[in-house]
Subunit: 264 residues, 2 copies
């Protein structure tokens, strides 16, 4: 792991639940040496990727991130494009739908919409990473994303979030195979209790998945839904997004899916 990766990694420890982190906190979180961390933090501050709270001396994410994400979105308005489709799908299904992007070691939520009609709602935290091995989105990413992603994930220690979380590499591979066969992934409380999910990939220029669209519902309600029809709708949205992004669902996949029950 190079210096750059080590320092950028520090940024990943921030979340909605942990918005400010001190030097010693970082030491405990990362296990790295204090001096090293301090130099990294200082350099990140100098570049505006972090700010130091002058009162507590703790660090928080910096303003440069806001600008850079604005630059990206202004030249490559993925969020705008995807949000449009996700909202439309969510409204038509009356359930929560979210889109997430595959980034390095997890899924980064891009947008979500809760067109919910039911009395119970799924809470979706847009600011936190989703793990690859424990969510429908994640398994979808492993199945249709870059092969290296699957390899890396299987060779890392996997956190058990609920009783249903699969952490055994063998079983991950099985899930991935099933996903590739079916063309979608369905999850049952593998990340959060009482939440079930169905996900499909979407594509940009590359033949590997760029992100996923996923429906998340309270488990109690899942049984009442028509799985086939949901998958059909999700794939329709995936096609629309992929097209808007200047890409397409790869042919080999498209052909396989056509044969399967999904698009029948």
């Amino acid at each position: 792991m190079g210096t750059i990766t080590k320092s950028l990694n520090l940024l990943n420890y921030f979340s909605k639940e942990r918005p400010e982190i001190g030097l010693v906190d970082f030491k405990n979180l990362t296990g790295q040496d204090k001096a090293t961390i301090h130099r990294h933090l200082t350099e990140l501050v100098e570049n505006g990727f972090l700010e130091q709270n002058p009162e507590t001396r703790k660090y928080r994410l910096g303003a440069t991130l806001m600008r850079l994400s604005a630059v990206r979105e202004s030249t490559f308005p993925m969020r705008k494009i995807v949000t449009r489709q996700v909202t439309s799908l969510s409204e038509s299904l009356g359930e929560l739908v979210h889109a997430s992007l595959i980034v390095s070691k997890g899924m980064s939520p891009l947008c979500y919409h809760d067109g919910g009609t039911g009395g119970t709602r799924v809470y979706f935290n847009e600011a936190d990473m989703l793990p690859l091995h424990a969510t429908a989105s994640g398994i979808t990413a492993l199945a249709f994303g870059h092969p290296e992603l699957l390899e890396k994930t299987i060779n890392s220690r996997l956190v058990k979030y609920t009783d249903n979380t699969i952490t055994d590499p063998e079983k991950i591979n099985e899930s991935v195979s099933t996903a590739r066969r079916n063309g979608y992934v369905i999850s049952d409380q593998s990340f959060e209790r009482e939440v079930s999910s169905i996900a499909v990939p979407f594509f940009e220029i590359s033949p590997y998945a760029y992100g996923t669209i996923s429906l998340a519902v309270p488990t109690a309600r899942m049984a009442r839904l028509n799985e086939n029809q949901l998958v059909h709708s999700l794939w329709a949205t995936s096609r629309a997004i992929s097209k808007d992004l200047g890409g397409d669902v790869p042919e080999h996949l498209s052909n396989n899916l056509a044969k399967s029950v999904v698009l029948a």
Copy 2:
């Protein structure tokens, strides 16, 4: 300059006008060695700060930036807070108002609102950095921000954007002194032709300015406006923002200003 800074600096070359950059482009832009740049780019891609267009092999800003900025805004909703005040001021003045944050070597636009009534409008590009020496916001930042910022700026080569851009360190220092005396900065086509601007700082916890609020109008219209009244309104908004951010306009400044014509 450490490895981390060198690599993060690469991200600053992206803009609305230059959304994708290739390896050799970077070499020409930075003057650094190709191999070095390549390793930096690779590591940034691995961490999701960049993406590589699989078709052109050029690099563009990555999705991790979107997530991190969402985490920051969800835990520290500065944009939300500031936008509210900026919109309100812009509507009441009927002119374009923007807020920008001081980050490392420039000003990073945070939000803007054009409550414009006039026939001519100022075009404001939210995704680009503003230079410190050539804008009302920038001189305000130099005058009321961390002293180190002024020192660094003066010791760097300053770009001349228009005939009115001041690049002489002596003159910068004069402008800064005037700003400190007056409590605001007024600029006349120093960055863009036909655009004039008035700016004041706002504060967070620290006694040094955190950002600026600025009114931007077509130069032709500036003469007709009541400068004193504008500055008064800007300072009122600054106070409101500073308060909302949990900070305050430093006392020594507040006292000086009270004496000056500005708040009379």
